[in-house]
Amino acid sequence: MAQDVLVFVESRGGQIKRPSLEALSEGRRVAAALGSHLVALLAGSGTETKVSQLFPLGPDRILLADDDLLGLYQPEAYASLLAEAVRRIQSGTVLLSATSLGRDLGPRAAAKLDAGLAADCTHVEVTNGELVVKRPVYSGKALATVRFSGSPVFVTLRPNVFPLRSSEETSPEIERLELNFDPARARVRAVRVEESVGAEQDVSEASIVVSGGRAMKGPENFALIRDLAQALGGAMGASRAAVDAGWIDHQYQVGQTGKVVSPNLYIACGISGAIQHLAGMSSSKVIVAINKDPEAPVFKLADYGIVGDLYEILPKLTEEVRKLKGQS
């Protein structure tokens, strides 16, 4: 039997993060292909009551780390916990979601174990008993196939890419994993979390994204983008031109020096389609472009488009969506 597959399951405010469930679901598939067991490490504070949420995804075993010190992200405590779990079960493959926590924790834990890591992967295969992954590089302008040597191997998985597949519900063995980390030794401490965008979704987590570009002309017009995003239950994004002009904060920026997103639906409004922006959104499942200029490069990769004035079209579009969803 091959070495076990370990999936790190992240929680925030006691809630399990959906991207971690995606990673667990992919872990089930990988473990089956490797002929090995699937182990979930559920870490956080107040996670014990949430553990049954993992059962439908089919883990054979769950390591439960429930500690106040894990309530907020502490890089050293988390890395020490994950490395301890890998050693305990002698895991050969470690999967994490490529969330902001996963992308920070993965490399630190991998360094503890002299392990290789492939970040932000969008495909995972097992070929002849070996893991082979694909990851977007040059911000999605190319796709690299990565092979590993040594054990364990770490892989972080891009959120929103891997489907949630229900497995046969298991009754996994649950084992507590104590955090062997002295809080006095924590040299960096998370002291609080400041919600920076209120109740809005982050552009990297949303399954629908509506973005505005240069044609928004100023900060006030982003209300049109926000209205449509809200009607669709999605998040608001922006091009670099809009961010550099100071109309909207950089956390909304999609593209090579912003966030790379792969939502189910991406609506680009008044964005001509500079290569840097296209790189950040071209792996979206469905792309819609709204632009006055029929020659705008964004139309070359859009699945649907409207040539026209976004100031006329967006309010109508929001109205139609609200009608459809019974919001008006």
Binding site: D120, V146, A190, S204, L301, G305
Partner: protein, 262 residues
């Protein structure tokens, strides 16, 4: 304050990617190489802290001869000196190998602050900050958008999904810079002239005391087997010359009935 900034030379973000004949790397013909944009933010932060508190900013980079132009750029911005980690044995190092090389070079200098960009544009790995911190047994904070130093304590705001985590700690520390932390400066003519006289020290594998099996292709735990262009997208249905209300209705219908995404 003794400040180190680790930079990487990368293809300019405007680069149109073509695949090289080996099928697993970038065709570098005609590509312009620049300091990775997030590393520029790290450099700027280092310079601002030095300007306020005095001390020294030292730039580090791993790579072949071409990398010296990027180190010269950072010297022109105001770094005091640079260390170029250059050896044929370093070629094809993965993140593990690069972190070993950098850690070996950084360790003897005992910096108060080690800065990285949050990731290099291109390989988009984002691993070196946390890895180097672990190898040097230092704490780290990744993806920093705000930083305040007071004495030997710091408060850093780290960007996460829809929020910021506020982290506190003491120096020494490794930080990785995210857009928003500052607005990087341009080099002045005076800076460019001054940079010509500044030192770029070259360190090889022997001088770093590393074993060849730990770095380069030999030490790599990950390797690119293939590089390909993503599947091309083709233009779909474009609605032209329609009344805005009519176009909006038709688009919603298509998204609902054909694409099934809303």
């Amino acid at each position: 304050m003794r400040i180190a900034v680790c930079i990487k030379q990368v293809p300019d973000t405007e680069t149109k990617v073509r695949i090289a004949a080996d099928g697993r790397s970038l065709d570098e013909t005609g590509v312009t190489f620049v300091v990775s944009p997030y590393d520029e933010i790290a450099v700027e932060e280092g310079l601002r802290i030095k300007e306020k508190r005095g001390g020294e900013v030292v730039a580090f980079s791993v790579g072949d001869e071409r990398v010296s132009t990027s180190l010269r750029t950072v010297l022109a911005l105001g770094a005091d000196r640079a260390v170029h980690l250059k050896d044929p044995a370093f070629e094809n190092s993965d993140a593990l190998g690069l972190s070993r090389i950098l850690a070996a070079a950084l360790k003897p200098e005992a910096f108060d602050l080690i800065l990285f960009g949050k990731q290099a544009v291109g390989t988009d790995r984002g691993q070196l900050g946390p890895r180097v911190a672990e190898l040097l047994d230092l704490p780290h904070v990744g993806v920093v958008v705000r930083l305040a130093l007071e004495g030997d304590r710091f408060t850093a705001h780290r960007e996460v999904e829809g929020a910021q985590e506020v982290m506190e700690g003491g120096l020494p520390v490794v930080l990785t810079a995210q857009k928003g932390l500052n607005e990087p400066r341009y080099a002045s003519l005076k800076g460019i002239l001054a940079a010509k006289k500044k030192e770029i020290k070259v360190l090889t594998i022997a001088e770093l005391g590393l074993n060849p099996s730990m770095v380069g292709s030999a030490g790599a735990r990950t390797r690119w087997e293939k590089l390909e262009l993503p599947p091309a997208r083709t233009a779909g249905k474009i609605l032209k010359g329609m009344d805005p209300g009519e176009a909006a209705r038709e688009l919603v219908r298509l998204l609902r009935e054909e694409a099934k995404v809303i």
